[in-house]
């Protein structure tokens, strides 16, 4: 059995003022090297779960381990293990991609030489070399997404969380990003991906979990789930498991 990248046991969490918790006795295991997709309808708890795993939110009951490290201990070295690419673009738009990578690289614990090497490498892979010194505010949406991705992987994380990494980009950029993510995974990075673009997810994820109202309603290899539920695609599987009529007027 592969070692676990993420191991969640008996997690309980609720926002203050809520009558019932979002998660109660929640368990999830994600093995190292997986391309794991976390899906669910709006308000199902996907982003909350990622925020709990990455330490953005804190919890009292249960345990979350990243590569065997308990995140409750607030050990800063855990931060170097993972990267997080949020849905909202997170960089300084007045600065160029190179300047942003220099800053975020420093905060990820890299030395000057490592930052220079990684910056050159990432800008090349993501097609940003020509605009390396141009302020990001002059970029198109797709270029901004690529910068967001570069910042998330500057420190070569072993686990990469992606929250809708391709939202609002053209097909070319989306393909470029997905190909780069697959390349990262080949080199050993565990991908934990969440999106509403299920066609894209089908091409990227080899294992998925469907989550609804804080409960996992399905968790297996994508192909196994499709066969088991007699579906041809992830969209059909999603509607089948979460309720076809949900969201209909």
């Amino acid at each position: 059995m592969k070692p676990l990248a993420v191991n969640i046991q008996d997690l309980a969490f609720g926002y203050p003022g809520q009558s019932s918790p979002i998660f109660s006795n929640f368990n999830l295991k994600i093995a190292e090297g997986e391309r794991f997709g976390l899906f669910g309808p709006n308000g199902s708890g996907k982003t909350t779960l990622i925020n709990l795993i990455t330490g953005v939110l804190s919890f009292s009951d249960g345990s979350i381990k990243l590569l065997g490290n308990e995140i409750k201990k607030h050990d800063k070295s855990i931060n170097k293990l993972f990267g997080y690419i949020p849905q909202d673009l997170s960089y300084y738009q007045e600065l160029s991609p190179a300047e942003n990578l220099e800053f975020f690289g420093a905060w990820s614990g890299l030395c000057t030489q490592e930052i220079k090497t990684r910056t050159k490498e990432l800008l090349g892979i993501l097609g940003l070399t020509e605009v390396r010194n141009t302020p990001i505010q002059k970029f198109s949406g797709g270029m901004k997404r690529r910068v967001n991705l570069a910042i998330g992987v500057i420190h070569n994380p072993k686990i990469l969380f992606l929250d809708e990494p391709t939202v609002g980009v053209d097909v070319q950029t989306r393909v470029a990003i997905i190909n780069y993510l697959k390349e990262l995974n080949k080199n050993g990075t565990t991908l934990i991906y969440t999106s509403h673009q299920l066609n894209e997810a089908e091409g990227l994820c080899d294992k998925i979990a469907l989550i609804d109202r804080g409960k996992i309603i399905a968790h297996d290899d994508l192909d196994t789930l499709l066969v088991k539920h007699g579906q041809e695609g992830l969209e059909g599987l999603f509607l089948n498991l979460t309720g076809k009529n949900q969201g209909n007027p």
């Binding site: 600065l95 800053f103 420093a106 302020p135």
Partner: protein, 193 residues
């Protein structure tokens, strides 16, 4: 840790250097604020200086000290002095104030110079005795009260009255101090030689 701090400083300098509005707000606004506040304060200062308080002075004393006191009051630059005859009665002075000639009146009594002189001799005598020298006979009760009479218009606020009183008392103390020094150094028996 130092590298992170350095990176943050560099990052912030870069952002600031590209934010012209930010720079304008950072440096321009304080300068503008200084100019506005200075302008307001200057106007207030000019307003105060231009609008001096009218002060009727009735000097019934013929000595040099009262003249010196009036000069000291004039130097304060807070009052517009209206000198009236020493023969005017208190009734006439209060009538003048009622007819809004002045907000304030000061009557210097005929024995003003004498009182100040006595007080100066007393203080000088005490000082010389403390040094084992012989001074004039000490009159312990001499001149503790303010030896002038002040009349205020009722419309004057209490705070302004306090300011006026303080200013006049300051002028009086100046005159008294000068007189004490004169007594110490130049009067017979008080000369220090």
């Amino acid at each position: 840790m130092m590298f992170k701090l350095w990176s943050t400083i560099i990052k912030d300098i870069r952002i600031l250097s590209r934010d012209k509005v930010g720079i304008a707000l950072m440096f321009g606004m304080p300068i503008l604020l200084v100019l506005i506040v200075t302008s307001i304060q200057n106007n207030t200062f000019q307003l105060i200086n231009k609008n001096k308080i009218s002060l009727i002075i009735c000097n019934r004393d013929t000595g040099k000290i009262s003249a010196e006191f009036i000069r000291a009051v004039d130097k304060i630059d807070m009052f517009k002095l209206i000198r009236i005859s020493k023969d005017e009665s208190e009734k006439m002075i209060t009538d003048r104030m009622h007819s809004k000639d002045a907000l304030l009146a000061m009557v210097i009594p005929a024995d003003f110079s004498e009182k100040i002189d006595t007080k100066a001799k007393t203080v000088a005598g005490k000082a010389l005795n403390a040094f084992g020298l012989e001074g004039d006979t000490i009159n312990a009760n001499a001149g503790n009260a303010v030896p002038v009479t002040l009349y205020y218009q009722p419309i004057l606020q209490e705070s302004l009255r306090q300011s006026i009183h303080g200013a006049l008392f300051g002028a009086l103390q100046l005159v008294e101090s000068k007189q004490i020094l004169r007594t110490l150094y130049f009067s017979p028996g008080g000369r220090y030689d």
